[in-house]
Structure formats: structure tokens, C-alpha cells
Amino acid sequence: MSTNPIIEMKDMNKWFDDFHVLKNINFQVNNGEKIVICGPSGSGKSTLIRCINRLEVHQNGKIIVDGTELTNNLKHIEKIRAEVGMCFQHFNLFPHLSIVDNLALAPMWVRKESKKEASERAMHFLEKVKIADQALKYPGQLSGGQQQRVAIARALCMKPKIMLFDEPTSALDPEMVKEVLDVMVSLAEEGMTMLCVTHEMGFARQVADRVVFMDDGQIVEEAKPDEFFDNPQHERSKEFLSQILH
């Protein structure tokens, strides 16, 4: 299986000015794998996954996504972005567009689909995340959980091979967390390659193939979820787990 990485990072480093935020990252994700990334605040989790679709630019080392290396080549960036979907902590829906337009916009302009085709697929994915009845509303009229499900559907409309999630449930009221996690679980069951920054341990145990623990810009530990949560190897992992368990 390790012969088929869809994401590959080799000696990757990133600085924000003088601040060395990602240090010598070597990391692979196989096709169809589900990864949960955790770690203390400021450890570089968001930065790491944002490098994958080049919302952040790494300074040296290599990042190869589905056979294409990320460089300044705009064509490559566009290709990778069209294949990698992303969900944000604060949803980032487009408030001036209706839900269905939020979903249909990128397929129409990036994939050059007809409006009809794009809207039909939008409706298909809205049904999948169980909010087809809200299609004509605007994001501001939906609850947080509904908005996040729309955001997931919006990313799916681009038919991505990889989905990135950056703390998708941490801005939600507790009663809405489950509806979003349910969507993510069903997505995982369909075989989507997923990288997910989250502290939802139940979710990690249920779907993750691997948990990646980061601290201070480094990947400190990688393990199967049960191993990681029940028997962490590193001092810092233990400390972190003892903190989030209380």
C-alpha cells in the first residue's frame, strides 16, 4: 500500500518570516487513507494541511500531490486545487450567493460545466448532506451545522480525490457536531482520502487509519488510533492526551 502515495512530503520546511513553523516534514498519505491530525494549538496543523492545496507556500523540500509537484507553476496549482477539497473551521460560504449557487459556482467556472449540470450535481450532494430543502436559502439563514454540511457538499461538487478538514466542528454548538461528523463518516466509508485536523477522538477512533500528532512544527508520532490514544509513545503525546481528556 505504501507504494501508492497520493500525497507525499519530503523534507518539507516552512517559515513565516523568521518563524520556523514546519520543520523537516516527511509524510505520506496513501490513496483512500483517512488521517487525523492533532496536536496543541500553534503546533502547525493548519499550516501543514494548507500547504497541500497551497493556501500556504512552503519554502523548501517537496510536496507531491497525485503525481504533480507543487511549485510556482500556476497550472499545477490549479490542477491540484481542483482535485483537493477543503473545509474550514468557519465554513467560509459565500454569503451573497444562495446555497445552490455556492455549490454550482466552481464546477461551472473551473470545470466549465453547464449551469444545468452543475446545479443538478449540487442538488445531488445537498441531498446527500440532507439539506436539499434549503437549496434556495442564503448561508446566513442556516444554522452552523447546516452551513458546515453545505461547505462539505460544496467541496464535493468539484469531485475531489482528497478532502482536507481544518477543525470542521470546533466552531459549532455541541448539538450540531454530530450531524457534521455523520456526514464525514459516510464520506470516509465511501473511500475518500481524508486529512482531518480535529480533536474529536470518537471520530478518530471510528474512521482514522492513522493519527498524526504534531508539536512545535514537527510530526512527533504517527500511529493507529487505538495505539495512539491508549498507549502513546512520546512524552509530549502523553501530556497532550492527558490535557484533552480532562
Binding site: N53, L55, N92, F94, A106, P139, G140, G144
Partner: protein, 368 residues
């Protein structure tokens, strides 16, 4: 929170007088202190406005000559009556005045038609382009119409042309400059910054002077560009810089997450701007850009210094008529009245647009 845009049915069924009494009670006489204050202010207003009203309407001389006016104690509206055509149309040849009049009627008709955002389309842009061509022919002649030089255009049509053309054309320029100023490319960015700061650093008068005095020096001998056109270019250059700053304010108000979401979906720079950023940013800047537009409409009166006869210049000129000396208050009031109507309707329209554009996501603040 639920917003209601439909009128409250209770309110509608209330008889008019009763509703008014209720309103007054709530807004003017709610407490003893408020009652005293309200009565005091109302008395003051009556004291100030009664004499003005009497002067302007009751005692006014509506028809007659200057002598009749001097005998009366009120405003000389006969002066406006007499000078109306000149103030509105300036030195345009009298027998051809139907041409600018028709142009203005067409323009107002087209403006009225354009006011619904649902009608904004490429077709509408074509209509306006057609209007500009037609208006140009009507005003300057051709196709069998006697030629009229742009130096004899004047009054309201001139003010409207200079300001509306200026505002409409400078809007896209302003957007481009604002985007340029936020660009990652150092050359483009610095060019835009220099342009904006240079223009904003000088008064419009100096730009107009340059357009009329300096600019011709740079042209090869024998080539001359229409004075009106030069003034128009100067005005467009001026407004663009201000519009750029207004638009920049709107761009700065769009959260970073919107750019990131667009990037993550694979939209390119132009798509992101066109579909995501600008629609939101321009909506935010409706009030300040109308403010700028209103300011510019009034600023076009500065073209007086390069001897173009805009509305204010024609008013001034008619005051100099030896037969009608001494009615400057009436003249200026009339000009002010026209400016007021124009600016007031612009402001009112902008408020309507704001409400309309807001309707879609009116609950935005509630959930985020």
C-alpha cells in the same frame, strides 16, 4: 431574529389621523421634558420658515418684468421664468434647444429604466452605449442636424454629461486601481499607489487647469483636442482616484476566508474577484461611493474656471444681465434647488439599493 419587510397590517388599518397622533405621542411628547423641547423646536421652526415661505411663495412676483419685481416685496420668480432657458441650456443656439432637451429626456428615461438591478445586463450597457452615440449626435450635430460646437454647450446638460459620464467611466477605473493597489506585483502596486496619491494630493481645479492650459502644450502643432473632452478626461482621472479608495475600503472589509475558500475551490484570480469578492465589496461601498458621486456632481461646477458653461456658470451669467440686476438670491436658490433634486434622488436611490441588496442574506450577522 426575524426581519419583516411586509408592512405591519395593524399599522395599515389604523386611520391616518389616529396614526399620526400616535406617532407624535411616541416621538415628540413621550415625557414632559421631551414635550417642552418639541414645542420649543416647533415654535423655532415656524418662526424661521414662515418668513421664508412668505417671501418665496406668497409675496413672490411670479410674472412681469424687473420693475414689477422691484416693487414687490417677495422673491422675483419672474427672473427665473425669464432666464430659465438660459440657465438650463446655456449658450446653446435657441432655435436648436429641442436637441439638448430631447437628450436629457432620453437620459432620464434610460436612468429610470436602469434603476432596477434586475435589469442590469449586457443589453443595458449596449442601450447606454447607443444613448451616448445618439446624444453626441443630437448635441453636436451631424446626420442633417446643424453642427453646434461643444463650447456652446452649457447648463444642466453639460453638468449632467460631465458628472454622469465621469462617475460611470471612473467606476471601473476605480475598481481596477483599487485591485492594483492590493496586487502582489510590486510594479503594478506602486504605479497604482503613485497615481492615487498624486491625484488625491491636488485639488480638482488644478487638474482642470492642467487639462486646459498645460495639456495642449504637449500636443503636436495643429492637433487640438476638444476642450470639453479634455475637461471630461480630467474629471474622470480625478474621480477614479477617489473611487479607488472607496472600493479599497470595501475590499479590505471582505474576510480572508472568502479568498481562501475561492482559492481552495480552484477559482482563479479574475473569477474570485468577479464572483466572490467584488459583488460583496461593491455592495458594502454603495453608501460611500454615492457620497463620492454626489460630491463629484457638485465639483463639476468648477469647470467654470476653464470657461465651460455648466449649470452654476449659466446661473452666474444670467445674474449679470443689466436689466435684471439684483436677483442673485433667486438665481442661486434655483441652481441650488436643481443640484438638491439631483443629489437627493441619488442618495435616496442608494438607500433603496442597499436595502435591496441586503435582502438576500439579511440574517448573516445572526448566525456567524
Amino acid at each position: 431574529m426575524v426581519y419583516k419587510f411586509t408592512k405591519n397590517p395593524e399599522k395599515r388599518t389604523l386611520p391616518r389621523m389616529e396614526a399620526m397622533a400616535k406617532w407624535m405621542k411616541k416621538n415628540l411628547f413621550s415625557t414632559k421634558g421631551n414635550t417642552v423641547l418639541s414645542l420649543f423646536l416647533i415654535a423655532g421652526l415656524i418662526k424661521i420658515f414662515t418668513p421664508i415661505f412668505t417671501w418665496l411663495f406668497i409675496d413672490a412676483t411670479w410674472i412681469g418684468d424687473a420693475a414689477a419685481c422691484r416693487e414687490g416685496s417677495g422673491a422675483c420668480l419672474a427672473f427665473i421664468n425669464e432666464k430659465f432657458t438660459y440657465i438650463i441650456f446655456g449658450p446653446y443656439p435657441r432655435e436648436e434647444i429641442w436637441r439638448p432637451a430631447l437628450t436629457m429626456v432620453l437620459m432620464f428615461a434610460l436612468l429610470w429604466w436602469s434603476k432596477e438591478p434586475s435589469r442590469w445586463s449586457k443589453k443595458l450597457v449596449k442601450w447606454w452605449a447607443g444613448f451616448v452615440v445618439l446624444g453626441w449626435i443630437l448635441m453636436s450635430g451631424g446626420l442633417g442636424l446643424a453642427p453646434v460646437k461643444s463650447t456652446s454647450w452649457g447648463g444642466l446638460p453639460l453638468t449632467l454629461v460631465l458628472s454622469f459620464v465621469g462617475i460611470f467611466i471612473s467606476y471601473p477605473f476605480g475598481i481596477a486601481l483599487a485591485l492594483g493597489r492590493r496586487s502582489q506585483m510590486p510594479f503594478i502596486k506602486s504605479m497604482c499607489v503613485i497615481y492615487i496619491e498624486l491625484i488625491r494630493g491636488v485639488p480638482m481645479i488644478s487638474l482642470l487647469f492642467m487639462s486646459s492650459v498645460m495639456f495642449p502644450l504637449f500636443l503636436p502643432e495643429g492637433v487640438s483636442i476638444d476642450k470639453l473632452l479634455r475637461a471630461q478626461v480630467a474629471i474622470i482621472m480625478f474621480i477614479s482616484a477617489y473611487m479607488a479608495e472607496v472600493v479599497r475600503g470595501g475590499l479590505a472589509a471582505i474576510p480572508k476566508g472568502q479568498y481562501e475558500a475561492a482559492d481552495a475551490l480552484g477559482l482563479n484570480y479574475f473569477q474570485t474577484m468577479r464572483f466572490i469578492i467584488l459583488p460583496q465589496a461593491l455592495k458594502i461601498v454603495i453608501p460611500p461611493s454615492v457620497n463620492t458621486a454626489i460630491g463629484m456632481l457638485k465639483d463639476t461646477s468648477l469647470v467654470i474656471i476653464i470657461a465651460l458653461f455648466d449649470l452654476l456658470s449659466t446661473t452666474k451669467a444670467s445674474l449679470k444681465d443689466p436689466e435684471w440686476l439684483g436677483f442673485s438670491v433667486e438665481g442661486y436658490l434655483f441652481a441650488a434647488f436643481i443640484y438638491f433634486i439631483l443629489c437627493f434622488s441619488m442618495g435616496k436611490y442608494a438607500r433603496r439599493l442597499e436595502v435591496e441588496f441586503h435582502r438576500g442574506h439579511k440574517n448573516r450577522e445572526v448566525n456567524i
